[in-house]
């Protein structure tokens, strides 16, 4: 696909990211969709192939994948300035609203009705988080299933051991992740399969 639009101006770039950030509710899928619509469809600054390549880089990056995506798209469209402006647009307005809502919460947290509402919302976020975990697990389950029952079992065992180690043994998260990486290197490296999440680009906020 040939890129048609001229490079975005600084203010335009900030506005686009700010509107993506402020319209993002409930996580990665909607944000990814908004980014694709703005940068691939509305303005033809990126092709879908480029986008998928960049997204794969972001999955390898620690932290919030969508913030990494903001960085790498910003760099592509405006160099160092592009990174700074994109990050500011994506994060500052949303972060300001998050602060504001937290400040309001602190003002009213002793109201009985507010406490009751939060007693309902908090477990619901637990249920939603379980789905986030399931979305992460699905490509791994599919992969293990293809390789046979042994690898499926192995994958499940590693996952549950990590959960157990963090919850009950209070093992440091860093040790758990490094341990899993080393285990993975020994157990899975003989399997030369295509990279994980190849075309699986939703739900990874």
């Amino acid at each position: 696909m040939k890129l048609q639009d001229p490079r975005p101006g600084k203010w335009q770039l900030f506005r686009i990211w700010a509107s993506i950030g402020l319209q993002s509710f409930g996580g990665g899928a909607s944000t990814t969709f908004l980014i694709q619509r703005a940068f691939i469809e509305k303005h033809k600054w990126l092709s879908m192939e480029e986008f998928i390549y960049l997204w794969n880089l972001c999955i390898l990056t620690p932290g919030i994948n969508l913030v990494a995506l903001t960085v790498i798209i910003g760099k592509k469209l405006g160099g160092t300035w592009g990174i700074a402006i994109s990050l500011a647009g994506m994060l500052l307005p949303s972060a300001a609203i998050t602060c504001l809502l937290t400040a309001i919460f602190l003002q009213i947290e002793n109201v009985a009705a507010v406490q009751a509402v939060f007693r309902g919302i908090i477990p619901a976020t637990g249920g939603i988080m379980l789905l986030v975990g399931l979305n992460f697990a699905l490509p791994l389950i599919r992969k293990g299933y293809k390789e046979g029952i042994f690898f499926l079992f192995l994958s499940g065992a590693i996952t549950l051991t990590c959960a157990f180690a963090v919850i009950f043994l209070k093992l440091s998260v860093i040790i758990v992740i490094l341990g899993a990486a080393i285990l993975g290197t020994f157990l899975f490296s003989s399997k030369s399969t295509p990279p994980l999440y190849e075309n699986d680009q939703e739900e990874q906020a």
Partner: protein, 170 residues
């Protein structure tokens, strides 16, 4: 007394060893509770506020920063989640060279499995928040079901849960 430098480093460490917006929670939970810098309830509240605020999922830590250390905490948390994202530039430079090495894929797969385990630990922490009882567990199950259907917007799910809380616990 919170030591701002150490506080920032704990947030940065949690973010560097996480992927996605939530798997930094177990690390923050261990460290902040261990130092006495956060209450158990701060976690459930900040995740709930993060869910009803706009922006990428991971911004819940900004609310955690605000709850535990005011505006300073929110600002330090914001910086801490931004820095790891910049590593994408280094990864972009080196990725094409190691992309097809089998050990990289094996290690990445191990890390991905660990991240699922961490997310289970997040669910565990949330469901062990003070005030979550069997009715809360039912709300969690209902929210999971509605989210799984992918037909109901997350904000509507949270609104329904808040309404349920209002009538069950008021």
């Amino acid at each position: 007394m919170i030591n701002p430098f150490l506080y920032f480093l704990l947030f940065l460490k949690a973010s560097l060893f996480s992927t996605g917006g939530f798997s930094n929670l177990p690390s923050l939970h261990q460290d902040l509770i261990g130092n006495g810098w956060a209450k158990e309830s701060d976690f459930g509240q900040s995740i709930a506020i993060g869910q009803i605020s706009p922006g990428p999922n991971g911004l819940w830590v900004i609310s955690l920063g605000y709850l535990t250390y005011g505006l300073t905490g929110a600002l330090l948390a914001l910086i801490a989640i931004t820095i790891p994202a910049l590593l994408v530039l280094a990864i972009s430079a080196g990725y094409s060279r190691i992309e097809h090495q089998t050990w990289v894929q094996g290690a990445m797969r191990g890390v991905s499995l660990a991240v699922v385990g961490l997310l289970l630990a997040v669910v565990w922490t949330i469901l062990h928040q003070p005030g979550v009882d069997w009715k809360g567990a039912l709300i969690a199950a209902g929210a999971f079901g509605l989210a799984l259907s992918r037909k109901v917007n997350i904000l509507i799910i949270l609104g329904l849960a808040g309404l349920a809380g209002y009538f069950l616990y008021r």
